[in-house]
């Protein structure tokens, strides 16, 4: 069965650089979520999209933005990167309405 695809799997950036993370949801899933997991922490909700519109927002820094495109894939754009942005970033997808969320393998971002 198709799963949630994230790219890249690993990313190394320098401080103040920009990063773009991509997420391809499971086919026919219309809702995409982004989570950030710092070292030794639990995943924290950043933002979600339903049918290409932002549906909910968590503790996402103003330096970050995201969008969902017409083919339902989503991109998380991160600017002016800081050392504290080093984390595992997960994308998840589901059908709208509180059904099971399926997570991608994550993108490990290291800011040096």
């Amino acid at each position: 069965a198709a799963g949630v695809i994230q790219s890249p799997r690993h990313l190394i950036k320098e401080k103040r650089e920009t990063a773009t993370l991509k997420c391809y949801p499971i086919p026919r899933h219309d809702t995409v979520y982004w989570y950030q997991q710092g070292p030794g922490q639990d995943p924290q909700f950043l933002i979600s999209f339903y049918e290409k519109m932002q549906s909910d927002k968590g503790s996402i820094p103003d330096r970050f933005s995201a969008q969902q495109f017409s083919d339902y894939h989503s991109e998380l754009n991160m600017s002016s990167l800081e050392l504290g942005d080093s984390a595992l970033y997960f994308c998840a997808s589901s059908s709208w309405g509180g059904t099971e969320a399926f997570f991608g393998q994550g993108t490990r971002l290291t800011v040096v």
């Binding site: 979520y33 989570y35 639990d42 995943p43 309405g97 099971e100 969320a101 399926f102």
Partner: protein, 107 residues
């Protein structure tokens, strides 16, 4: 927001032992999931269980929604069961995770 508490925070087992992991949550939810995070960071779906009982091999889970708790049972544990177990709950689509339970299974 919803509060999620998992216990115990750490668990060490001898291979072959059984264990129960608990998740308490503070509000009504229509989504509850258990995940296993392996040493490579991958979050593996174990159960989608907003209510009732499910079993999958050596693992089973029970959620009592009216009392706002869920239990994950691991029987005949194996070293490959080691990792962090997360409970995550949501009122709709957004999930709030607990702090996780770190399980170490010794050979």
């Amino acid at each position: 927001g919803i509060q999620v508490e998992q216990s115990p925070p750490d668990l060490i087992l001898q291979e072959g032992a059984n264990s129960t992991l608990r998740c308490n949550f503070s509000d009504s939810v229509n989504n509850l999931q258990w995940f296993h995070q392996n040493p490579w960071g991958q979050l593996i779906n174990l159960f989608y269980i907003p209510s009732g009982t499910k079993q999958n091999g050596r693992l089973s889970a029970t959620t009592v929604a009216t009392e706002r708790y869920s239990l994950l049972y691991i029987s005949s544990s194996q070293t490959t069961d080691s990792g962090v177990y997360f409970c995550a709950v949501g009122a709709n689509s957004k999930l709030t995770f607990g702090k996780g339970i770190t399980l170490s299974v010794r050979p």
